[in-house]
């Protein structure tokens, strides 16, 4: 234990805060539940997986914020800014445009999901286009795309524990056990409650770092000067975007923003809101988090000016190292705990979101169509455990040169759900078969493009020839250009083209469209309307509700 000597205060703080996580996570099972409802053993899926769909504005703010701004935010974005400069700031523009982008679409999804009792987008697709095949495809892509994102959180945890001097698998497995325990026990209520703790710790951390910056460094001017000097000598990156890098930047920003609310965990957070107004207000308050992300991204430059070098060649270690060189004792423990909880909260929501998708679109669709609500909850709780195990496998199997690239790969795949899910909220014009063809074409072209992208280390050396990122050079099209585009958006163009052409062909050949079980008014229904079955007061009372598309199925 000699390695740990002198680090008693920080490790004690970390352990105490993780202990608090365990207590809160366990207690959350009974949080905001009606006294009449049964114990934690008697969940139905909407209680466990969506917190009873009854979260008000404050909790929705913390839950969605805690869910979207993950350990990825805290570790990988500053790392990218450290390594590449301006390019890393794509994350800030991306979370700036995402809320106005989904402001109109998300309430429509909320309404149709409440009217029909959906907990996932794949169920919506099933009802909208009348196609179980399309629905299961959407479900599989959603789950597969989420796995690396959960894995990213585990990587975040790993970095924190290593920084604390707690290397090896044991601390990681303990933290993982904690995550599995509170998710299994309390469902979405646990991350919702823990998100508040996470944000509180994170805010303190950011303020401490800014205070240190103001006191000891010469402010942003000197920081930027040091960063500029580094990029002037380096092989890649710069304070500004290179002229050829702008197209890649814009497509990355747009593609990431379009993909964000196609992820099951983002949907889960949004569907748990109690009404449309709650959701819309959240869209205008959540940008507060984006500002915090911007400050965090700039910490990448602070790390440069503080002379921090990546440990073991892993750029992701720079934020923990920055903490280490600026904070001490309990304050350092608190900052590490903020990072760790910042990984646990989203990992929990992601595993719940993916598990809900599995339960409704695979288990109930193909394995047991007559599953009762409590059986659904049981399956979902088990599936959430499996998702986390799958994520660990992803961590062990893939090269983690840049944790952010891993998430970008998942995003490339998830983005292909855009035509069926996002456009589906507005139109049922697309034919189900054309959507399947488009989705498959999009996925294949995405994977092919990712295959063509080598991964390049900070010193300009190629470390791997395939799956090294998501920036696809247009030179592959035979164009004599150095421009590159975000592979996800390029694949989406293929996807949309095939879906549109296929729809025209299907209509021309007279192939019957699927039955649309939704009504235009379903997309504007709100809490209190008679068509909405999921009013919070109803949830706390009876629990025998089944999604309407399940009842109408012949």
């Amino acid at each position: 234990m000699s390695v740990l000597a002198g680090r008693g205060a920080e490790i004690a703080t970390m352990i105490a805060l993780l202990g608090l996580v365990a207590v809160l996570g366990f207690a959350a099972a009974r949080w905001r539940r009606a006294p009449s409802s049964a114990g934690p053993g008697q969940w139905d899926l909407e209680e466990w997986g969506l917190g009873g769909r009854a979260f008000g504005g404050t909790i929705t703010f913390f839950l969605v914020g805690g869910d979207l701004y993950t350990a990825y935010t805290l570790v990988a974005v500053p790392a990218l800014v450290y390594a590449q400069g301006g390019l890393g700031f794509f994350a800030v523009s991306y979370v700036a445009i995402v809320y106005p982008l989904v402001y109109l679409a998300l309430p429509r999804l909320w309404s149709v999901a409440h009217v029909h009792g959906f907990v996932s987008t794949s169920e919506f697709v099933r009802a909208r286009f009348g196609s179980p095949g399309l629905s299961v495809l959407v479900a599989v892509v959603a789950i597969v795309g989420t796995l690396p994102y959960v894995a990213l959180q585990i990587v975040g945890l790993q970095v924190v524990f290593q920084a604390l001097g707690l290397g090896g698998a044991l601390p990681l497995l303990l933290a993982f056990g904690l995550l599995a325990f509170f998710t299994f026990n309390s469902g979405l209520r646990a991350p919702a409650l823990l998100a508040i703790l996470k944000d509180f710790l994170l805010l303190i951390t950011v303020l401490m770092l800014l205070l240190w910056l103001g006191v000891t460094e010469g402010g942003w001017g000197d920081v930027i000067k040091a960063a500029g000097a580094k990029f002037a000598h380096g092989s890649s990156g710069g304070l500004l975007l290179a002229p050829t890098g702008q197209l890649g930047y814009v497509t990355l920003v747009l593609g990431s923003a379009l993909a964000l609310f196609l992820y099951p965990h983002a949907i889960t957070g949004a569907l748990a809101a109690r009404n449309r107004a709650t959701l819309k207000r959240s869209m205008s308050t959540l940008p507060v988090y984006s500002l915090m992300l911007g400050v965090f991204a700039l910490f990448g430059f602070v790390a440069i000016s503080a002379g921090i070098k990546p440990k073991g060649g892993n750029v992701d270690t720079i934020i923990p190292q920055l903490f280490h060189s600026t904070l001490n004792g309990a304050a350092l423990g608190l900052a590490y705990a903020a990072l760790a909880i910042g990984a646990l909260v989203p990992a929990s929501v992601m595993s719940i979101g993916a598990a809900n998708v599995f339960t409704r679109s695979i288990y109930r669709e193909y394995i047991r169509p007559d599953a009762t609500p409590s059986q659904e909850a049981r399956v979902s709780r088990t599936a959430s455990l499996l998702v986390k195990l799958g994520a660990i496998v992803v961590v062990l199997a893939l090269n983690l040169q840049f944790a952010v690239n891993l998430q970008l790969m998942g995003g490339v795949l998830i983005l292909q759900l855009f035509p069926a899910v996002a456009l589906g909220l507005y139109t049922s014009w697309f034919h189900r078969r054309a959507l399947i063809a488009g989705l498959v074409a999009g996925l294949l072209s995405a994977i092919f493009m990712l295959y063509q992208i080598p991964s390049v280390a900070a010193n300009g050396k190629i470390t791997s020839h395939h799956f090294g990122g998501s920036s696809w050079p247009l030179a592959h099209l035979g164009l004599a250009t150095r421009f590159a585009v975000y592979a996800g958006l390029a694949a989406l163009v293929v996807n949309l083209a095939v879906a549109a052409a296929g729809t025209l062909v299907c209509h021309w050949r007279g192939i019957a469209s699927g039955v649309d079980l939704t009504h235009p008014s379903d997309y504007t229904a709100d809490e209190g309307d008679s068509t909405v079955q999921r009013m919070p007061e109803l949830v706390e009372g009876q629990r025998s509700y089944q999604a309407r598309h399940a009842r109408l199925r012949d």
Binding site: G56, G57, T58, F61, G86, F89, V92, S93, V95, A96, I97, Y99, P100, L101, Y103, L104, G219, W220, G221, D222, V223, I224, L239, L240, L241, Q246, Y249, V250, V253, L254, R274, N275, A277, T278, K280, R281, M283, S284, T285, P287, V288, S290, L291, G294, L298, H519, P520, S521, T524, A525, E527, G528, D529, S530, T531, R548
Partner: protein, 99 residues
Amino acid sequence: MFEAPDRRRQPDNDLTLLQVASKSPPPAAGQRRPQSGHRSRWPWLLVVAVVVPLLTPLYNHIQPRLFGLPFFYWSQMAFVGLAACVTAVVYLATKRRGS
């Protein structure tokens, strides 16, 4: 400021009583909430907040600086503020119409 949304629920739907009175799960077309005839133009404001951050030539510059930060960085932080303002304005402007 976020709580009790039901208390300030706007009287946006004069058919509510009619809908509650009807117990049949899939109501007939006439009982559905009417689609508002005149669509609000306020949501078009959202386009501004989405498109401006996509125009990199607009902000890919060092000058002018703010607190020592190059324009590239603080302008993108400002776009976050723009997004917050635009969504808030659209929300406040449209909430009485029940859209």
